[in-house]
C-alpha cells in the first residue's frame, strides 16, 4: 500500500515499539535499583527488562528498515 510519498505503516509501528521499548526497559532498570513495595508475581524474572529490550530491537529494525526516503 505504498502510495507515492506515503510513509509506510511499518515505520510508524517501528517508532512506537522503539519508544515503548525505551520506556519499559528504563522502568525495569529503575525497579532493579528501587524494588516496589508490592512486587508482581515472578518479579525476579525482571520481565520488563527483556521485554523492553526485545521491543527496542524490533522497533529499531522496523524504524531503520522503513525510514522515509530510504531506498
Amino acid at each position: 500500500m505504498q502510495r507515492s510519498g506515503m510513509i509506510s505503516i511499518w515505520f510508524f509501528i517501528g517508532v512506537l515499539l522503539l519508544a515503548y521499548g525505551i520506556l519499559i526497559l528504563a522502568s525495569g532498570v529503575w525497579e532493579l535499583s528501587s524494588p516496589p513495595e508490592h512486587p508482581v508475581v515472578l518479579a525476579n524474572l525482571h520481565v520488563g527488562i527483556w521485554w523492553g529490550a526485545l521491543m527496542i530491537v524490533l522497533g529499531g529494525f522496523y524504524t531503520f528498515r522503513f525510514l522515509p526516503g530510504r531506498k
Binding site: 510508524f12 519499559i24 528504563a26 515472578l42 520481565v47
Partner: protein, 554 residues
C-alpha cells in the same frame, strides 16, 4: 490497580500515535474509492492483518478470555473450527466473486446478483447490527476500565470514541486499516506476556493441566473434542453436532464470509491474488490468537486464588469472569508493562469500533443513501456523506452504550441479533455465488424467511423455555448451544426457501451473471506461478496445521 507515570505515558503515546496517523493520512484520502476502500491498494499482509484486527474488539479479547475461564479450552473452538475453515473458504472460493464484481460492499453484491430488495434488506439489517455491536463493545471496554482502574465510565466512552471518530473521519478506511495493523501489533505485545510468564509459573502446559484438574476435579476444562459426545460431558452443555454444523458450517461461515466489517478489508486489496491471500494470512494468525486470549483464561483457572463468578452473581470483593484478563495482567505486569497491557485492551476496542464504523458508513452511503435517497450526486458529495455518517455511527454507538447500562440483558439480545442476520445471509450469498439458477425472488424470500425463522425460534424459547429441547435438540442445552442450532435451522430454512422459490420463478439471463456466479466468471489461472506464490498452497499449509492442533488438544 493503579497506573504509574510510565503507564500513563504509554497510553498517552498510543492516543497521540493513532490521531497522528489519522491527520497524516487525510491528504491521501480524496475520492470515494480512497475513503471507502482505501484506494484498493492494500498488500496481502496489510489487508490480512487488518481483516483479523477488525475482529479483535474488546469483547473478543476480554469476552473470550472470560469464556475460557468459564468453559475451558472449548472456547478455542471459536478461533479454530469457528474461524479457520471459513476464512480459507472465503479466500479460495468466495473472494474471486466479490473482487471481480468490483462491488463496494456485501449488500452491493446482493444488488448485482439478486436486485434491489435483497440489497435493501441486508443493508438495513447490517447497519442496525453494526452500530449495536459497536455500542456493546464500547460499553464493555468502559466497564472494564471502570472496574479495574476506577476510570469514570463516561470519560472512557467519550475519549475512546472521539479518538476513533477523528481518525476515521480524517482518513476513512485507509486510516482505519493503518491503525488496525498498528493495533494488532500492540495487542500481541501487550497480551503475549501474560501467557509466557503464566506458563513459566505453572510449569508449562502439563503443569497447567495438572493444576486445573486439581482445582476443578469435576469438570474437563482442557480437552477440545473428547467431552463433546454428550450435552452433559462438558462445561458448555454443547454437542459436537452443534459445534461442527452450527458453529463451523453456518455461524462462522456467515460471519467470516458475509459480514462486511471483515470482508471490506479484503476487497480493499490491490489485486485478486492479494485479496485471496489476505484471509489466508489472517487465518494463520487467527490460529495463534488463543495463545493470548484463551490461554490467559485457562491460566486464571490454574493460578488465581479466588474463584471468579458470573457477572450477575458478583458480590462485594468478588470478581466476574469478564475480569480474568485484567486480573492476570495485574498479576504479572509491573509499571510500563501494565500500561502496555491496558493499551492492548484499548487498541482492541478501537480496532473493533473502527471496523464497525467504517463498514457502517460504507453501507449507509453506498447501499442506503445512494441507492434509495440520492442517486446521482458527485463523488465528493458521497465522501462528505461518509465522513458525517462516521460521526453519526459513533454517536449512535455511544447511545447504544448508554442504553446497555440500563438494560443489562441486552448483551444477550445483541448476540441473538447477530445470529438472526448472519446465518441466513450466508445461505443467500453462497447460493448466489455457486448456483446460477438462484433467482432474484428466491434470494430475497430466502433471506427474509431465514431471518424471520431465526427471530421466531428465539422468541419461542423466550416465551417458553422448554422449547429449547426442540430448537437445540436437548433440554440440557445452554444459551450458546441454542445460538448454534438456531443458526443452523435458519440457514437451512433460507436455503430451502431460496431453492424452492427459484425453481418456481424466472432466472436472470446468463449475460447478467457474468463475474457474479460460478461458471460465468473468468477467474484468472495461477498455474504459471511458483507453488509458494499460490494462495491454494498456503491454504493447504494452514489447513494441515489446523488439523494437527485439533489432534494435539483432542
Amino acid at each position: 490497580m493503579s497506573l504509574s507515570a510510565v503507564d500513563i505515558a504509554i497510553i498517552a503515546l498510543y492516543f497521540a500515535a493513532v490521531l497522528g496517523i489519522g491527520f497524516y493520512l487525510r491528504r491521501f484520502t480524496k475520492t470515494g474509492e480512497d475513503f471507502f476502500l482505501a484506494g484498493r491498494e492494500m498488500t496481502a499482509w496489510v489487508a490480512g492483518l487488518s481483516f483479523l484486527a477488525a475482529n479483535l474488539g474488546s469483547l473478543e479479547l476480554m469476552g473470550w478470555a472470560a469464556s475460557a475461564y468459564q468453559y475451558g479450552i472449548l472456547a478455542a473452538h471459536w478461533y479454530w473450527i469457528g474461524a479457520i475453515p471459513a476464512m480459507l473458504f472465503l479466500g479460495i472460493v468466495m473472494i474471486p466473486f466479490y473482487y471481480i464484481s468490483k462491488t463496494h460492499s456485501v449488500p452491493g453484491y446482493l444488488k448485482l446478483r439478486f436486485g434491489e430488495p435483497a440489497r435493501a434488506l441486508s443493508a438495513i439489517s447490517f447497519g442496525l447490527m453494526t452500530v449495536l455491536m459497536s455500542g456493546i463493545n464500547m460499553y464493555s471496554m468502559a466497564l472494564i476500565m471502570n472496574v479495574i482502574l476506577g476510570w469514570d465510565i463516561h470519560f472512557s466512552i467519550w475519549a475512546s470514541s472521539v479518538t476513533v471518530a477523528l481518525y476515521v473521519v480524517l482518513g476513512g478506511l485507509l486510516s482505519a486499516i493503518f491503525n488496525e495493523v498498528l493495533q494488532f501489533v500492540l495487542i500481541w505485545f501487550g497480551a503475549l506476556l501474560i501467557s509466557i510468564v503464566g506458563l513459566i509459573e505453572v510449569g508449562g502446559w502439563s503443569g497447567l493441566v495438572a493444576r486445573v484438574h486439581e482445582r476443578f476435579p469435576n469438570q474437563d476444562y482442557t480437552h477440545l473434542w473428547s467431552g463433546l459426545g454428550s450435552f452433559t460431558g462438558n462445561p458448555m452443555g454443547i454437542h459436537w453436532v452443534g459445534i461442527v454444523f452450527g458453529l463451523g458450517a453456518v455461524i462462522s461461515m456467515g460471519y467470516w464470509t458475509t459480514d462486511f466489517l471483515v470482508v471490506q478489508r479484503v476487497i480493499a486489496a490491490k489485486d485478486l491474488r492479494s485479496a485471496k491471500l489476505a484471509p489466508i494470512i489472517g487465518a494463520a494468525f487467527k490460529m495463534c490468537v488463543p495463545f493470548i486470549v484463551i490461554l490467559p483464561g485457562l491460566l486464571g483457572l490454574a493460578v488465581l486464588p479466588e474463584h471468579l463468578v458470573g457477572a450477575n452473581e458478583v458480590t462485594a470483593g468478588q470478581h466476574s469472569y469478564n475480569e480474568v484478563l485484567p486480573l492476570m495482567l495485574a498479576r504479572y505486569c509491573g509499571p510500563g508493562l501494565l500500561g502496555l497491557g491496558i493499551t492492548a485492551l484499548i487498541a482492541g476496542f478501537m480496532s473493533g469500533m473502527a471496523g464497525n464504523v467504517t463498514a457502517f458508513s460504507t453501507v449507509w452511503t453506498y447501499d442506503i443513501y445512494r441507492a434509495m435517497i440520492r442517486k446521482n450526486a458527485t463523488d465528493q458529495h458521497y465522501v462528505t456523506m461518509g465522513r458525517w455518517c462516521t460521526i453519526l455511527g459513533v454517536l449512535v454507538s455511544i447511545g447504544t452504550a448508554y442504553m446497555v447500562m440500563s438494560f443489562k440483558s441486552i448483551m444477550d439480545y445483541v448476540q441473538a441479533l447477530f445470529s438472526f442476520f448472519i446465518a441466513p445471509l450466508f445461505g443467500t450469498v453462497i447460493l448466489g455465488m455457486l448456483w446460477k439458477r438462484a433467482t432474484p425472488a428466491g434470494g430475497f424470500w430466502g433471506l427474509l424467511a431465514g431471518t424471520a425463522s431465526s427471530i421466531g425460534m428465539w422468541a419461542w424459547v423466550q416465551l417458553d423455555h422448554s422449547a429449547i429441547r426442540y430448537v437445540a435438540l436437548s433440554a440440557n442445552a445452554q444459551d450458546m448451544a441454542e445460538n448454534m442450532f438456531r443458526a443452523l435451522w435458519s440457514w437451512i430454512v433460507c436455503v430451502i426457501v431460496t431453492v424452492v422459490v427459484s425453481l418456481m420463478t424466472e432466472p436472470k439471463p446468463m449475460s447478467e451473471l457474468k463475474g457474479l456466479v460460478y461458471g460465468e466468471t473468468d477467474i484468472p489461472s495461477e498455474g504459471h506461478l511458483p507453488l509458494w506464490h499460490r494462495p491454494i498452497f498456503w491454504a493447504g499449509v494452514v489447513s494441515a496445521v489446523f488439523v494437527v492442533i485439533q489432534v494435539i488438544f483432542w
